[in-house]
């Protein structure tokens, strides 16, 4: 191997690793706040990617209808849980967020959709369409069972993953899609040309991580999310709603997933089921970070990206196997380091 190939592979690995880092961070965040292992995170990637690619082709993406559908179901759940203590303000809030918002997004998208739209506009539209799916998913699947054990929540996650996977097939079909690159510029660093898309990935990833850091470090809502993660009972006694924290965490996860999808769809063709595998690599990184450490997760994600790049060069048939094998030493080390833990009793 010469230096040029090495640098190419490294560049590839860091680009993918940056995206896995975003997904890994979202997984850690959601787990800390809600104890949910978010298997359907990959579906947000798919939805973001395919929504963006469909918009770029000038067509109306099926996810706008999915948002209307999930919003209506979420509204029904809200109505049901309000049957005991009815008050007007929460009802109005629920009507606006669950019914009017998705309809407004549908109207907006239908009005402006077209093949000549600017890329920035399509990116923004995709985010607006996919973001509400996060809180809706939390409301429908997880909020009714928020006090269940981690294992039960995991099983629900697997169910939600399959449901969204099927819906992805319904709305986007089995054909893969590719989207236009965010930037066509390119710079040359020594012997390696770096594409505008790779630069966009680095820029967006860094920007998003800084934004998350500011949100969690300096805003009351960010601190409330952390507080819920640190001590759920304490947070509830301070008047911080578990359901609010959960919906906020899922909103962030959906946005992060959609951003990752938009970043990756100009690089590889995305099918309705591709997101799952991408999400799983973020999951590998999150596990290496112990599902608690943000910096460790980000570093592990870069490692996962590089291992993937190098193994696809040397043994492309085994690249997934090699990436997931990374988990084994980590799991063995962790199980040796941690004393045997009793199954949780809550």
């Amino acid at each position: 191997m010469d230096t040029t190939i090495l640098l190419f592979l490294l560049q590839d690995g860091i680009t993918n690793g940056a995206i896995y880092a975003l997904l890994g961070l979202a997984l850690v965040l959601v787990f800390a706040v809600t104890r949910v292992i978010l298997i359907p995170q990959g579906e947000f990637v798919t939805f973001g990617a395919l929504t963006y690619a469909t918009l770029a082709a000038g067509k109306l993406p099926g996810t706008v209808w999915l948002a209307v559908l999930m919003g209506a179901i979420a509204f029904a759940f809200d109505l049901w849980s309000m049957r005991l203590s009815f008050r007007l303000a929460p009802l109005l809030r629920s009507v606006v967020l669950n019914l009017l918002l998705p309809l407004a997004i549908l109207a907006l998208t239908s009005a402006v959709v077209g093949p000549t739209n600017a890329i920035a506009m399509n990116v923004l539209l995709s985010l607006v369409i996919v973001a509400p799916l996060g809180p809706f998913l939390y409301r429908i699947v997880y909020q009714p069972m928020a006090e269940a054990s981690v294992l039960t929540l995991l099983i629900a996650s697997v169910g939600a993953h399959f449901a969204l996977l099927g819906l992805g097939l319904v709305f986007f079909g089995a054909e893969g899609l590719r989207g236009p690159a965010l930037s066509s510029a390119s710079v040359t660093l020594g012997p390696v040309p770096i594409s505008g898309q790779a630069l966009a990935v680095y820029g967006v990833t860094t920007g998003l991580i800084v934004a998350l850091w500011l949100f969690f470090g300096y805003t009351l809502y960010g601190k409330a999310l952390r507080a819920t993660a640190v001590n759920r009972i304490g947070a509830r006694l301070a008047g911080i709603r578990t359901s609010l924290s959960g919906q906020l965490a899922f909103l962030l996860a959906a946005i992060i997933g959609a951003v990752s999808g938009i970043l990756i769809v100009p690089i590889t063709t995305i099918y309705y089921d591709t997101g799952f595998l991408i999400g799983l690599k973020g999951f590998v990184a999150a596990i290496i970070g112990g599902l608690v450490s943000y910096p460790l997760t980000a570093l592990a994600a870069i490692l996962v990206g590089c291992v993937e790049a190098f193994s696809s060069f040397y043994a492309s048939n085994y690249k997934e196997a090699i990436v997931f094998t990374l988990l084994l030493p980590v799991l063995i080390l962790r199980s040796l380091a941690a004393p045997a833990v009793e199954e949780e009793h809550d």
Partner: protein, 236 residues
């Protein structure tokens, strides 16, 4: 006495088939300190947890003429009912000031800033340590922080669960002095204590709890003078 602020009517709380609290009734009036004393395991903590909504309560529960039984914890807190739990439940990995600000999560930012100054005036130690992580505070400071966090939510009734537990006598005395001060500022208090002597000194009325039931209640000085209480709880 006018309309009570908090009214618990024939309330029972059970863990599975075991009833920890059996059909107890209790009132807390406006601007009143009421204490529940009793031995370890009598059901005092369970009752407080059920009033705030951590445990399920069967029976009547109204606060300021509002029925609480169908409300979630957060909605009960929003009505002006705050609990300082036995284990304090602080956000250990976060600074003191963040803990306090989160206590005022539902309160408007401007109001919250004013309340923060009041809490700092009440507990100057917390102001000194505002940037320190809550988990690194001493036991007494953690108790102050837990009370401060609850006060940030503008409670009309503050429930304190064993505030003196594990504290040095001098610090416990400080906490009881603060309780009396809070009453003067218009907050009603429901105080659960094993330290019966200190609790009866500061309280207006008292309930004595044994094995999940109230066996005695009345003005604090009368309860303190009761021979059963004197023998079992005051060690006279």
């Amino acid at each position: 006495m006018s309309e009570p602020l908090l009214s618990v009517v024939r309330a029972s709380v059970a863990y599975g088939n075991v009833e920890a609290v059996r059909s107890v009734s209790l009132d807390v009036g406006q601007n009143e300190i009421v204490t529940i004393i009793g031995a370890n395991g009598a059901g005092k903590t369970t009752l407080l947890n059920a009033i705030i909504g951590i445990q399920r309560l069967k029976g009547g529960l109204t606060f300021g003429s509002r029925d609480l039984t169908t409300l979630e914890i957060e909605d009960r807190v929003a009505t002006g009912l705050c609990l300082v739990p036995e284990h304090r439940e602080l956000f250990g990995a976060m600074p003191v000031e963040d803990n306090l600000r989160l206590g005022g999560f539902r309160i408007k930012a401007a109001q919250s800033a004013a309340t923060l100054e009041k809490v700092f005036a009440l507990f100057p130690r917390l102001k000194e340590r505002r940037r320190q992580l809550a988990g690194t505070l001493s036991g007494g400071e953690q108790q102050m922080l837990a009370m401060g966090r609850a006060l940030m939510g503008h409670p009309r009734l503050l429930m304190l669960d064993e505030p003196s537990l594990g504290l040095a006598p001098r610090i416990a005395a400080d906490i009881f002095r603060t309780v009396a001060e809070l009453k003067r500022s218009g907050v009603s208090i429901l105080l659960v204590e094993q330290n019966a002597r200190a609790a009866l000194q500061v309280a207006d009325r008292a309930y004595v709890m044994e094995l999940g039931e109230f066996i005695l209640d009345g003005p604090a000085d009368e309860v303190a003078a009761d021979p059963r209480v004197a023998a079992s709880y005051l060690g006279v």
